[in-house]
Amino acid sequence: ADPKRIGYIVNYGTHEWYQNVIFGLQSRADELGIELEVMDANLDINKQTQQAEDFMTKGVDVLIMTPVNEEGVVPILRKAKAEGMPTVLEGNPAKGMTTLFAICDYDAGYKAGDAVGRILVSRGETEARVMDVGLPLLSATLLRSLGFMEALAEHVNAVKVHELDGSGMIDSSVEVASAALAADSNINVIYGINDGSALGGLQAWRAAGLPEDDLIVAGTGSEGLAFLNEMTKEGTPYLVEAAMFPEGVGYTGMNLAVDLFNGVDVPEHKVTPTLALTVHNFAKYYDFDKAGQKRAINFENVAKIPTESKCTKYSSDL
């Protein structure tokens, strides 16, 4: 029998990425007639622990969690195990977990780096001078930057000129990128570990009044509408998006939770699809209505994207 109620504790539910993950989870839950309850830890690790207890009190059939911090959920997993509560993680592996669904951060970054590298080569460039608007707080985002740089290096001479902490937020990214560009604006690639970081880097570039002709901006996540808006602008340098299809992540995760409940053999890591999106291929996956500021995912086509069975690199490799 299928599970009836599934609980999901999201780490940061107001973020666009997770709104779309929830949308994917909900879409699949609706198809299967499952009741999905969502609690948002809002980046508070203590609160997440409490919410897990609350879900156990409520007695949901499966608990899905995106950890605020993967080390921080180890005791919850231990408690869940003691209570016999099937638990699924999203995002990053943690000690004591049963199964995980997540994109491969390194590989997503790698795909974007590969796409950027090809464009540079086609432009006859031999060097990539990169401003990495990163987020060292999370191993996931470090892996993205790493993958991006390693892929670039296979095409051209890749130099990381700036390694910044933009907090993953557009406003702090603008600020740190402005300072960095003031110190040295001789770059031709801006990489952002998410869409806000990439856009923040681009905005700083624009506010500094620098020419956009030779610049390439690559973002990560396909979190929401931001990259679609920018990518579809005439003459934009925002050429590549390491798409992670959050809706697809949710959709996959729900299937995994049901499998776990039903005792089907589940993989330790269920990899969800990623792809380098450009202005030429995005329409295959997203139906974008610019005027109405809406997007609709094509679950079918996303499901067709070939996925790795295992990531090339994990945070343990850092």
Binding site: L164, S167, M169, D171, S178, A179, A182, L199
Partner: protein, 311 residues
């Protein structure tokens, strides 16, 4: 000479030291681009800090400025997207800020809730309700060039945010130092009973302080929206702490009674130059937390020593 005995002189000294040190370390420090970058990011903080200086002087505080600022970015972008009119966007923003300032002020004065708590609660309310307003970030679809100009443009080679700050600045310097309202704010902060018994309507001025601060947040919020080209929930995170830290560093007392705009400006410049220097020097960005913490404590400590000696 009198200047040298003031708190400002200590701050000025720290600032000069920082500048000299950084320019030795990296000549890029004095590049016009870098100065633009420092001033541009300082000005949004300064604009709000003018209001915060007034509030702290009158013994109040507003913790909701960061949350309000991100709300403002969302409103201004959305309203301009829908209406295609910057004027309407600004009206909506300032109407909203006026309302929030009034609520803060009235909760403080009519319900008599300590402003730390009242505005902390307002912060929570705004942080939540911005998502009630729109779950998704609002992107610039109106593409009006004038709007981008507000945050990103230059006037006589000065970044627009700085120009806006410079337009607002003299008003507050005069207000606090040379008008009776400035005196009222310090009297209210220093001894509210004595102020009231001198015929000052404390509550009115407190409400005005909250309203001014909120309106200034509106100005900064519009600049930020233009700079990000987005209306972004959750932006300006921790903004309130930076503003308050800078104002305190500038020599304004948290207990009320004493406040200076020039000190506030110096405080902000110091904090922003530290941030900038840490990136220029490619030091781990963790120091962006540690160094200001140390400077805050030391500056206030030296100010205390100076005060003791001069009394």
């Amino acid at each position: 000479m009198k200047f040298l005995q003031s708190n400002e002189s200590i701050l000025f000294f720290i600032l000069a030291l920082l500048c000299i040190f950084l320019s030795f370390y990296n000549p890029q420090f004095y590049s016009i681009q870098n100065i633009h970058s420092i001033l541009r990011s300082s000005s949004t903080v300064m604009i709000v800090a003018f209001g915060m200086t007034i509030l702290l002087t009158s013994g109040e505080v507003d913790l909701s400025v960061g949350a309000l600022m991100s709300f403002v970015t969302v409103i201004v972008m959305d309203v301009i997207n829908i209406s295609g009119s910057i004027a309407l966007g600004l009206i909506a923003v300032f109407g909203f800020c006026l309302l929030i300032g009034l609520i803060n002020g009235l909760v403080r004065t009519v319900l008599n809730v300590n402003s730390l708590i009242a505005t902390l609660a307002m912060m929570l309310i705004l942080q939540g309700s911005v998502y009630v307003y729109s779950m998704a970030a609002i992107y610039n679809t109106h593409l009006i060039p004038l709007f981008s100009f507000i945050g990103q443009g230059f006037f006589l080679n000065i970044p627009m945010p700085v120009v806006i700050m410079l337009i607002i600045l003299p008003f507050f310097v005069v207000l606090l130092n040379f008008t009776r309202y400035g005196r009222y704010f310090s009297a209210i902060g220093s001894n509210p009973d004595a102020a009231k018994l001198s015929g000052i309507n404390n509550n009115r001025y407190k409400v005005i302080g909250f309203v001014i601060t909120s309106l200034l947040v509106g100005v900064s919020g519009v600049i930020l929206a233009s700079l990000m080209d987005t209306g972004q929930q959750g932006s300006a995170k921790g903004f309130e702490l930076i503003v308050i830290a800078a104002v305190l560093l500038g020599g304004t007392s948290f207990m009320g009674g004493r406040g200076t705009i020039i000190g506030t400006i110096l405080g902000i410049l110091i904090l922003k130059i530290i941030d900038n220097g840490i990136i220029l020097m490619r030091i781990p960005q963790e120091f962006q937390l540690i160094v200001p913490g140390v400077i805050l404590i030391l500056a206030v400590y030296f100010d205390g020593i100076r005060r003791k000696n001069s009394d």
